[in-house]
């Protein structure tokens, strides 16, 4: 033995303990990980660029500003507006627009062919806009004012370069004459882009240029509030009971299995459940945000319960012993020590569940939230739609202008989701800072 120590300078034969192999395995694993992340990032980037590339144009809108004359002959031919202001609602505002265009573009307003072609420059919603202006201020009659009018959807698309001009005129949505006028208006500085506020405030419309996410956003917001207000307390209470108080037996095992199953049930099944229970049995209105909220609550509950139970389970037993050893009751132990420590996990689960619910479409289709709702819902019982459903409906539309709106709506939904997840991160930070 001592000889071996003395001759230590001669390198002894080392045992092969497979170091090379082990390091190679680690390097390989790291490469797999990197590859997995790269693939994920590439797909995410592809998705985002595709959505943004198609959708960013939806946030601007072509407007044509014209000096519009509210001539009495067109708006109030019988001159009765003094007695009955409502008579102004019957004015020929399409003619008002046509005359304004004729004056601007220099064609004869009596020429029907040119007139019709010119009408198609301006969105039909512009008539309503002018009517509302006059109704609000009858003194406008007889005056000429500069008004920004929404361009028609196809004109908007053409202005954004989304219409293929190499297609023969007969098969094109925008005619050569209209293109010439567009150029003319553009040169005069009358046709320009403006921020598309309508996208955020308008309700549903069959005209793409007048369609907006307003009703859908309100519907989604109301549903999220309902989901949060119901599923968080119910879910947390259920988890605390199951985790801390319920006896561990076959029955509670069965409940646990069922909750885990419910989390995996296809969401459309929840839609059917909501349809039969809330709409048919309880007689709640169709297409209402309250029903949507209830259905999404049912769908979110399992997620919240599973997340809450997992985070309750993760609270170290030493904290429980410490509280009980001091003479805290079980309730005090849970609410003073266990739940606060589990809170970050609970909140993460709740927000993930909520974000999931925000993007859910299928169950809402079944309870009738896929509807043409142009007016804002006043109460949660009024018909409304939701953001993802609006995306689904727009994706089904044929007009070119709806394509960019679909992507634009997806971007709005993504922003909502990012804000919610950001909120989750901030809340988690806040609760974790209390050691």
């Amino acid at each position: 033995m001592s000889d071996a120590i003395l001759t230590a300078s001669v390198p002894a034969v080392r045992r092969d303990i497979g170091l090379k192999r082990r390091y190679a395995a680690e390097r390989r694993f790291r490469l797999y990980g990197l590859a997995a992340i790269t693939i994920g990032l590439v797909f995410l980037a592809l998705l985002l660029t595709s959505v943004v590339r198609k959708g960013y144009t939806a946030f601007v809108q072509t407007e044509i500003s014209l000096p519009v004359t509210f001539s009495e002959a067109l708006v109030d031919p019988t001159n009765k507006r003094a007695e009955d202001p409502q008579i102004l609602a019957k004015g020929k505002y399409d003619k008002v627009i046509r005359e304004a265009l004729a004056a601007q573009l220099g064609f004869d307003a009596k020429d029907l062919k040119s007139g019709k072609a010119a009408d198609q420059l301006i969105s039909p919603s512009a008539r309503v806009e002018l009517r509302d202006m006059v109704l609000a201020d009858p003194s406008l009659v007889g005056k000429t004012i500069d008004v920004s009018l929404l361009a028609e959807g196809n004109i908007d698309s053409a202005n954004k370069g989304q219409i293929d001009l190499s297609v023969p005129e007969a098969r094109r949505k925008v005619k050569d004459q209209q293109l010439t006028w567009m150029q003319q208006l553009k040169d005069a500085g009358k046709l320009k882009f403006a921020f598309n506020t309508g996208l955020f405030v308008n309700g549903a419309s069959s005209r793409p240029e007048a369609a907006g996410l307003g009703v859908a956003a309100i519907g989604s917001a109301v549903m999220m509030l309902i989901v949060l207000a119901l599923s968080l307390p119910i879910g947390v209470a259920a988890s605390i009971y199951l985790e801390e108080f319920a006896p561990k037996n076959k029955f509670t095992d069965l409940i646990e299995v069922n909750i885990n199953n419910l989390a995996a049930v296809p969401s459309i099944v929840y839609g059917l459940l909501g349809l039969s229970v809330f709409v048919n049995f309880l007689g709640m209105p169709r297409s209402a945000a309250v029903v949507g909220g209830l259905v999404l609550t049912l769908m979110t509950l399992p997620t919240i319960i599973i997340a809450t139970r997992a985070s309750l389970k993760a609270v170290p037993p030493s904290i429980r012993s410490a509280a009980l050893g001091l003479g805290a009751s079980k309730m005090q132990m849970i609410f003073h020590h266990v739940l606060p420590l589990a809170m970050p996990g609970v909140l993460t689960g709740a927000i993930i569940g909520l974000a999931h619910a925000l993007g859910e479409t299928a169950p809402l289709l079944l309870i009738g939230m896929v509807a043409f709702v142009a007016n804002y819902p006043v109460t949660p019982m009024d018909p409304s739609t939701a953001l993802p459903v609006q995306i689904y409906m727009w994706a089904n539309e044929a007009e070119r202008a709806f394509v960019e709106r679909t992507s634009g709506a997806i971007m709005v939904l993504l922003v909502f989701l990012i804000l919610m997840n950001l909120g989750a991160v901030l809340l988690r930070r806040r609760f974790e800072r209390r050691w």
Binding site: A322, L326, H336
Partner: protein, 270 residues
């Protein structure tokens, strides 16, 4: 002196013993499911005395300790038989409230387990839930005296509102002792309180146990024979779920009645 462990007790004797001892366990058995962990343990805990429970791992000493404030209740399949009294009152009697019992019989655990709150809140928590103080002044008073009793005051008085989990291991354990002391228990159970501490922190905790003895009855489970010899007046030796013998610490460590005790103390097994 071995009569408790081995002699059959007459009812009258029991009565006198219950009066003279702080706590008394008679024929205590514990089952974890089908496995029996304690076999008919008879052990008396004397007032204002440090009683050490020693024995090899898995001998049931911690199990017995946890019976004394019913911490075993929290284990699902644990059944406790026999009788344990606190000042003559059966603590497993249905009329006894376990919350009240634990306020009278406090516990310090093997691993320091301060709440993830401030030092102040750690100590004030017990008095708060038991309603022992009303005003801020009262709380401040309780926190200060408890920390002084636990020998921690001078080290933490300037940072009472910092995290209790930020203290060193030894300080955390003394904080846990302060927390237990703050509810003014009659008995303090300590489950290997020094096993996670270094020798210096251990010495401080042992010193503390010495001082606490005048006001509290202390039962301590320890793996260290030296510690049992240093801190306790009475020692009970457990083996395989049975109480081997219980006697004055000096006697146990110099001239035990049982050969198994002798062997264990000499380090021949365990």
């Amino acid at each position: 002196m071995n009569m408790i462990a081995e002699t059959k007790l007459e009812p009258k004797q029991v009565q006198t013993m219950q009066n003279s001892f702080k706590m008394l366990g008679r024929n205590v058995t514990v089952h974890y499911g089908a496995k029996q962990a304690l076999f008919d343990v008879n052990l008396a805990i004397r007032q204002n005395t440090v009683t050490a429970l020693i024995g090899p791992s898995g001998c049931g000493k911690s199990t017995f300790l946890r019976c004394l404030n019913r911490m075993n209740d929290t284990i699902d399949n644990c059944r406790v038989g026999g009788e344990i009294t606190l000042e003559g009152q059966d603590i497993y009697d249905p009329s006894i409230d376990v919350v009240e019992l634990r306020a009278r019989v406090g516990m310090v655990f093997q691993k320091p387990n301060p709440f993830p709150k401030s030092i102040y809140e750690n100590v004030a928590y017990g008095p708060r839930i038991h309603g022992l103080a009303r005003s801020k002044v009262d709380f401040d008073q309780i926190v200060e005296t408890s920390l002084i009793k636990a020998g921690l005051w001078n080290e933490v008085k300037d940072r009472l509102h910092e995290a209790g989990t930020g203290l060193s291991g030894g300080q955390q354990q003394r904080l846990c002792i302060a927390r237990a002391v703050a509810v003014s228990p009659e008995v303090i159970l300590m489950d290997e309180p020094c096993s996670a501490l270094d020798p210096i922190a251990t010495a401080k905790v042992e010193e503390l146990i010495h001082e606490l003895r005048s006001n509290y009855t202390i039962v301590i489970v320890t793996h260290s024979m030296q510690q049992a010899a240093r801190v306790s007046q009475r020692t009970a030796m457990f083996h395989l779920g049975q109480l081997v013998e219980e006697n004055d610490t000096d006697k146990i460590f110099t001239n035990p009645d049982e050969s198994r005790t002798q062997d264990y103390i000499m380090g021949r097994f365990g």
